[in-house]
Symmetry: C2
Subunit: 342 residues, 2 copies
DNA sequence: CTGAAAGCGCTTACAG
DNA sequence: CTGAAAGCGCTTACAG
């Protein structure tokens, strides 16, 4: 950190008091136009910049948003960062990032640590462990202290706060209907374990679509990946042993693996089998054929999260109380590529 | 930001002075064991946490590292973040992130803004525009103010500061030699424009390997992508019109595109053509066959960058001067997959 | 062993 | 129109 000129030094140079300098620099009409301009000119010439730390101390705010992510090497999460960074920057907030590595303990430590570091608010997507154990006390504590939180994508009903989600249920429902209406009968779903909120919603949409169509659900058509690191071989086995004419994957990796295996089996895509993936990223445009996708609009979700949080923050600083919690739904965007006929 | 108990309040409750509280909480031997423990107990019971902003003001340091990235939706850069976050956290620093979007103007604004926000130091990878125009005055200004900078991957010789790079030249040289030694004669290189430091070094390694082997360089074998967004079609044309038995791509996208086009041409991989990619990520394991890669070790580079910066910071706070600049080289790691025989 | 005072860099209610 | 004083929450040299 650097030594720049301070109000005190300016006051000394100009032979006035610090109060006068402060007011002049804030362009207060209490100070005569003439003196004000003189002080401002001198300040500019000497590259005066107000010391943000001193202001933080006075204002009891750090103009800092903390983002806690389960994982960062991930197309969706990095798109979200991009969106958050953009509005944070525009609205004068810094963005500090920290990672929970999908561990509840680390998430708790991160939150507590950053609370103690006086961040103004949090944006976070829950770690897998947090979701599976559904422990959110660390978040409740932050909220009770008056620090607002926005949850996105991986959320929890156990906590009352602002949330940003995709229309996962509807997207899955609609896309399953689409597959049904082009005559697909044996539609497979490759999804995550139930504790992941997002996966559960997508699974539900899929199931409801099938049942509402009057078909009976074949549980063998649903693969819940037990070990993500080993997803490829789980998917290979699934595709090998199941006769499908449609596949929905809840993320690119799953769907790309399924595609590869279907091609191995000699299936024509999309003639024999249609494929749809959630969560559009790099992979979808590099498979052959390219994957039709329901893009999760990470950047939009990031922007929306940052807006919700900053609105809360600005409201709190004015009215000293939180706004009622709201949930924003960002719709997925259909990107037709080559693995579907629609 | 929250209202927690302060030393003043503790002092009032315990009927002692603030100085005494401060010393007791810092476990100073100036204060009697008995009183010290009493105060510490009371503080703990009331969840006292020192106000970091007040400490920042006193210490003239914010314990904050600023990271400026050209782009974030990118496997390499997000791995770097992961590495930086890890050591920053361990060593008690916050990490604030901001994006230059590959624009010089935005990079300059980010640096200046964050300097004014009193970050302690910077880690950055230069924007394309910064590299092509080679303007680094904004960085020199920060350094002149006493704020250390670590540059990684996309660096500039125009500035004297700590740097972290891959052994790009050697990697390219070695891998080209490998290809030559298995008998490949027509090795293509798909790279970036010359102003990208990394691309240039890799290109040089490739050229030197070929010339040292006594072969004459065929300029038609080098494709410099002019418009990254349009790389796929540039690569398709290149592969179609050039007869190659080896391909080196400076990133996954380029190499994956080349692979797809070679397969279209009916080439057997790696029998007819060997492929090697720099910069390992998601894509490499999802192509068929999977790409052999020179992994850039993003996480290691991030860790090393953070270490260099924090060492500087700690040295500055002790000795009031910067350590001489050093450059760390993180070697790429060879990951043999299926597009090479070695 | 304890405390009053000054200081980090700023703002603002109050006096003149 | 200008300035002295108090305060944000802490530390530390100095006095007693």
């Amino acid at each position: 950190m650097i030594n720049r000129i301070t109000q005190k030094q300016i006051a000394h140079h100009m032979q006035v008091s610090v109060s006068t300098v402060s007011k002049a620099l804030n362009d207060s009409h209490e100070i005569s136009k003439e003196l004000r301009v003189k002080i401002q000119d001198f300040a500019k010439k000497n590259q005066y910049v107000p010391n943000p730390t001193a202001l933080n101390l006075k204002n009891k705010s750090t103009k800092t948003i903390a983002l806690i992510l389960p994982e960062i090497v991930h197309h969706f999460f990095s798109s979200v960062i991009k969106g958050i960074e953009q509005v944070a920057w525009e609205r004068g907030y810094k963005l500090v990032i920290s990672l929970s590595q999908d561990s509840l303990l680390k998430e708790v430590q991160n939150v507590q640590h950053l609370v103690n570091k006086n961040v103004d608010g949090f944006i976070l997507s829950l770690s897998k462990e947090t979701q599976s154990e559904n422990k959110v006390q660390h978040l409740q504590e932050a909220i009770d202290l008056g620090i607002p939180i926005v949850l996105f994508d991986r959320i929890s009903d156990a906590i009352n706060c602002d949330k940003v989600i995709s229309n996962d249920y509807e997207s899955a429902l609609n896309v399953t209907n689409k597959l049904l209406s082009e005559g697909r009968k044996n539609i497979g779903l490759i999804t995550t374990q139930d504790y992941i909120s997002v996966g559960t919603l997508r699974t539900k949409g899929y199931i409801d679509a099938i049942e509402k169509a009057g078909l009976k659900l074949n549980p063998k058509f649903i693969l819940k990946i037990s070990d993500v690191k080993n997803s490829k071989s789980e998917i290979q086995k699934f595709i090998k042993t199941t006769d499908l004419d449609g596949v929905i994957g809840v993320n690119e990796k799953f769907t790309a693996s399924a595609l590869a295996e279907l091609k191995n089996k000699g299936k024509e895509i999309p003639t024999d089998v249609s494929l749809v993936t959630f969560s559009d990223g790099l992979l979808s445009t590099f498979t052959t054929p390219q994957l039709s996708a329901l893009d999760q609009q990470g950047m939009e979700m990031g922007k929306e999260s940052a807006c919700l949080l900053i609105n809360q923050l600005e409201n709190i600083s004015k009215k000293k109380e939180m706004l009622p919690a709201m949930t924003s739904v960002v719709n997925t965007k259909w990107i037709r590529r080559e693995t579907t006929k629609f």
